[in-house]
């Protein structure tokens, strides 16, 4: 890599010009195309690409109310900016809102909620914050106090996914958009393969999901490299305070390793995920609704209700993990009952897709 750059450099560093405008100094190299371009051209091609993704995939219809899942992190901040900008520039005719979740972790959301409030003002988008306390009666701090630092990500992840949907219902929006980027999706493809989760594997690469449900979700950054989103933001200090998900983290690092060797790898993994065909004899879990809260679930109760039941009964480990014994029994159970839904049989919602 060094040899590519070292030759014919008048100045010691970054002597190359942008391959698009040929006028300014290149500041970054696009992972998709390996083009070396300047910041100004980068903003332009970045926004154009997102516009193309939105148009080519018919993500929105004129007049729709759209909630942007806003964590205060880089992805959703850039998404809020780009969507409000494109909505204006190309006259999509969308009503945009920011939707944030407050997990109730002391010190954790203070900064990020500040960022979201800043976005509210900067982009003129109305903001709605829903808290775990409001929705579930528990803050994450209270949950951690009860169950400790191990496994709390299960709670946080399951609750967050539903929180966005519930918040979106409160806002009466037609669609929910999230800032999931190409790296996130590639990672999820790998994880679903590693977990043998065929149902999610086939779903996780869709740019829009839940079209048959009340509020479809879409991911305008499906083809956008995380690295490029980072390029658009100044350093933001979003960081998981409680234990990071080790398994996911491992997949993440693997993807970053691959990217370093061959930047296209990320898009290729997404392509592989898209092109998977699942044999027609494979039994897929039925999608139904939670008997308790009505949320989509392939089980009798959705994962959030199982977790909440555990918390409220003082058995917080309920619904977390599974031992081999239980797993085997479960498989047997599924075969015998031939597709009837059984409680505890499957982790639901521990992924964000």
């Amino acid at each position: 890599m060094a040899s590519e750059v070292a030759e014919e450099t008048p100045k010691p560093r970054g002597g190359r010009f942008c391959t698009l405008c040929n006028a300014r100094r290149a500041a970054l190299k696009r992972p998709k195309t390996l083009e070396q371009i300047c910041k100004e051209c980068f903003y332009e091609v970045f926004e154009d690409e997102i516009h193309r993704v939105i148009v080519d995939n018919n993500l929105f219809r004129r007049g729709e109310r759209v909630a942007i899942g806003a964590s205060g992190g880089k992805d959703s901040t850039v998404l809020a900016y780009v969507l409000s900008e494109l909505n204006r520039r190309h006259d999509y005719g969308l009503d945009l809102f920011l939707l944030s979740v407050d997990e109730g972790i002391t010190g954790y959301r203070d900064d990020s909620l500040e960022t979201v409030k800043r976005n509210e003002i900067q982009y003129g988008l109305p903001l709605k914050v829903v808290s775990y306390k409001q929705l579930y009666g528990w803050t994450m701090d209270e949950i951690v106090k009860l169950i400790g630092l191990k496994n709390n990500c299960t709670f946080c992840g399951v609750f967050r996914r539903q929180a966005l949907d519930r918040g979106a219902t409160l806002l009466k929006v037609d669609k929910l958009v999230t800032g999931h980027n190409a790296d996130d999706i590639a990672e999820t493809v790998l994880l679903n393969i590693l977990r043998g989760d065929i149902a999610r594997l086939s779903r996780c690469t869709f740019i829009t999901t839940g079209e048959d449900g009340p509020i479809p979700r879409c991911k305008p950054f499906k083809y956008t490299y995380e690295k490029e989103i980072r390029n658009l933001t100044s350093a933001s200090s979003w960081w998981r305070i409680y234990s990071p998900n080790a398994y996911r983290g491992f997949a993440r690092e693997f993807i970053k390793d691959l990217e370093r060797l061959r930047p296209r790898a990320i898009l290729d993994i997404i392509k592989s995920g898209e092109d998977f065909r699942i044999s027609t004899t494979t039994k897929m879990p039925e999608q139904g609704n939670c008997e308790r809260c009505g949320y989509i679930s392939s089980q009798k109760w959705c994962k959030a209700c199982v977790l909440l039941e555990g918390l409220n009964r003082g058995l917080p480990k309920m619904g977390i993990g599974r031992s081999r014994g239980i797993d085997n029994e479960r498989n047997k159970d599924v075969k015998e009952t031939n597709g009837t839904k059984s409680l505890e049989s499957k982790q639901c919602g521990s992924l964000d897709f």
Partner: protein, 99 residues
């Protein structure tokens, strides 16, 4: 040599939550320039207080850490071989965590 080093995206937590470090790096005798490779090992020794594996892997940064030298991606300046000069600004941002 005086440098401004900035840590972001969570990396600041590895150096006592300080994001911006104005540092003076002493060069080996007879050297006038510093390479990124040398800087990284200097940073690891002098600034990183915990979990160095979150910052480095082998002799370079961990994949997923974005490095900017004077606002320019270090991929364009030769990565580890990038020559630094007095008053340069080097930014390290982790993209590994959080959205």
């Amino acid at each position: 040599m005086q440098l401004t080093l900035e840590f972001g995206g969570g990396l600041e937590l590895l150096c006592e939550s300080v994001k911006i470090h104005e540092v003076t790096v002493d060069l080996e005798a007879e050297e006038t320039k510093l390479t990124m490779k040398q800087l990284l090992s200097w940073v690891r020794t002098n600034l990183i207080k915990e979990r160095p594996e979150m910052f480095m892997k082998g002799d370079t940064v961990r994949p997923g850490v974005l490095v900017l030298v004077n606002d320019c991606d270090w991929e364009l300046s030769g990565q580890l071989e990038t020559m630094l000069e007095d008053k340069d600004v080097v930014v390290f941002i982790s993209t590994l965590h959080g959205g």
